[in-house]
């Protein structure tokens, strides 16, 4: 039975230790233990939220968000973390996850609880509820433009943290509704380390917090590391406390890795590999300047089929709430990631799909195309990803126009038009005007052919 008792034991044994830094205030493990117990009492005795309900937790890392997350696990709730990064899609996500109660944490860390009128009916949700087990719903990207909701039993996710590992002061950089963010949080607290939170994920803010709070572990993305290099924020802040930088979620350029090694020679760089559907695998880079790594660890098996990575995980999700099962009959998950293999090491080459990855943010071509298609004078549009050294990829729109505008004129009009319709990272960074048709005879978009 999943329980957070082992965490509370660790908190109690380290009562004076620093657990969370939030808005330049330090919260001890003693504070955290009390806060979790207090919420547990209120959830149970005051009937704030029915045990077993599907609860959305709308928050960024904060003392109350962390206490509530743990108390909700203990209360056998199925937790759906949502952050402001998915603000526009919250109604859709709440609908898909069949959220029965909303817990929202405001800017001042005040807590609002509100029941919804829904009752969860999805068989997988019911299955967890009836078994009296806590759950976690994480939204992942799907190739069709619809985010997929991965439902986990919280038990197996927690289990791996019962093994003690290195105690580190970690940056809460990855978001709360991301498998990497959940992993950082549980890893850090279960080893009596400290989670340092930041109000914004900008190079200057993050580097200043690393210096001020002596952060040792920075879990981040290759794009953010590029920004740290380009902004030279590392020159203005003393980053000597850093011991380990982990990066995942997108493809890393060798040049970035090399430069990071020069700038922060004492810091170990470790690639991680995790998926919303499976949890985070244990990984070991061949060396700090290598993109080759061993992945797996206890509870994970890997194999490569037709150049694509497949994983069998004990902590695998139960299934999607809004898509068919992606597992093979014998329980292997097809990641869709193309890999090269060298002995026991693998090198992740990228996703074999059309999703465009702008700095770790996923962009679906269809969404971009349907927005631009609405513009006056646009007869056809195709959005594709194009390689870029800073953000991995940029969105390129190939547009057939009837207006005779120049690229610069159209770009300006397009940006104004897309503002408010598309998230900023989805607005094409590059525009190419074309004269030929962008469709094949079958009326399929010509995504891969070079259209000029």
């Amino acid at each position: 039975m999943a329980t957070i008792d082992f965490l509370l034991d660790i908190f109690d044994a380290n009562r004076t230790g620093e657990a969370i830094v939030w808005r330049d205030r330090v919260f001890s493990f003693g504070w955290l233990a009390e806060a979790v117990r207090d919420w547990r009492r209120r959830l149970q005795d005051d009937g704030l939220v029915r045990s077993g309900s599907v609860v959305s937790l709308e928050a960024d890392f904060s003392p109350q968000a962390i206490s509530l997350l743990l108390a909700l696990v203990e209360h056998r709730c199925i937790i759906v973390p949502l952050t402001t990064s998915v603000e526009a899609r919250k109604p859709e996500f709440s609908e898909v996850a069949e959220v029965e109660a909303v817990v929202r944490i405001g800017d001042g860390d005040e807590v609002h609880v509100e029941p919804t009128t829904r009752t969860a009916r999805h068989p997988l949700l019911r299955q967890l509820q009836e078994a009296g087990r806590p759950g976690l719903v994480l939204f992942s990207s799907g190739s069709t433009g619809k985010s997929k909701a991965a439902l986990h039993d919280f038990g197996p996710l927690l289990e791996k943290f019962t093994v003690p590992r290195r105690r580190l002061r970690a940056m809460g950089f990855l978001l709360f509704d991301h498998i990497g963010g959940v992993n950082t949080l549980l890893y850090t607290l279960s080893n009596a380390g400290c989670v340092v939170t930041v109000p914004q994920r900008l190079p200057e803010t993050v580097c200043a917090a690393i210096a001020r709070w002596q952060v040792e572990l920075l879990p981040t993305s290759p794009t953010f590391l590029n920004l740290v290099l380009l902004s030279e924020a590392y020159r203005r802040h003393d980053l000597s406390s850093l011991k380990l930088i982990t990066y995942g979620t997108e493809v890393m350029l060798e040049s970035t890795l090399r430069r990071m090694r020069e700038v922060l020679p004492g810091v170990e760089l470790l690639q991680t590999y995790g998926l919303s559907e499976l949890g985070i695998l244990r990984s070991k880079s061949k060396s700090s300047d290598s993109l080759w790594m061993k992945i797996g660890g206890e509870g994970f098996e890997t194999r490569v089929v037709d150049g694509l990575l497949e994983i069998k995980a004990r902590s695998a999700m139960l299934g999607y709430l809004n898509a068919p099962s992606p597992f093979t009959a014998d329980g292997w998950f097809r990641t869709g990631d193309a890999v090269a293999v060298d002995g026991e090491y693998v090198h992740i080459l990228g996703r074999r799909s059309e999703i465009i990855n702008v700095g770790g943010e996923k962009v679906y071509p269809a969404e971009v195309e349907s927005a631009i298609q609405l513009m006056e004078g646009v007869s056809e549009v195709v959005a594709t990803g194009e390689k870029n050294a800073i953000t991995g990829e940029v969105v390129t729109a190939r547009v057939k126009l009837e207006t005779g505008e120049t690229v610069a004129e159209f770009r300006r009009r397009m940006r104004a038009f897309c503002e408010g319709r598309l998230a900023r990272f989805k607005i094409p960074q590059k525009v190419v005007l074309v004269t030929d048709d962008l469709r094949s005879e079958r009326f399929k978009k010509l995504r891969h052919e070079q259209v000029s």
């Binding site: 190079p203 590029n226 380009l230 902004s231 060798e254 610069a408 503002e419």
Partner: protein, 102 residues
């Protein structure tokens, strides 16, 4: 440093800021304007969009195809993206290099 390149970059930065609803007078922008960092006017998406737009303009106006943000730019000991001026210098070096090869 080429005044034309500085002007191109100033225009592109202005277009960026406009897109984000903030207005910056062209007169306030010059070679010393920091692009990134504490006092910088751009964030990551702004930078990428600026760079891509600039590459397109250089191709249109100078007839040269250069890559301003590639592995080479990221490996430079001093970042070319510190200020409008350093970016103009870097672009000039790339344009000269591309012309010599042509």
């Amino acid at each position: 440093m080429s005044a034309d390149l500085v002007r191109l970059i100033v225009d592109a930065v202005q277009e960026q800021c406009e897109g984000r609803g903030s207005t910056v007078a062209a007169a306030d922008l010059g070679p010393e304007t920091p692009l990134l960092g504490r006092a910088g006017v751009l964030d990551s998406l702004g930078l990428v969009t600026l760079v891509v737009a600039l590459e397109q303009t250089l191709e249109d106006e100078y007839g040269v195809s250069v890559s301003l943000a590639d592995e080479r730019a990221l490996s430079e000991r001093k970042s070319p993206f510190r200020t409008i001026g350093t970016l103009a210098d870097y672009a000039e070096r790339l344009i000269d290099g591309a012309r010599q090869r042509a």
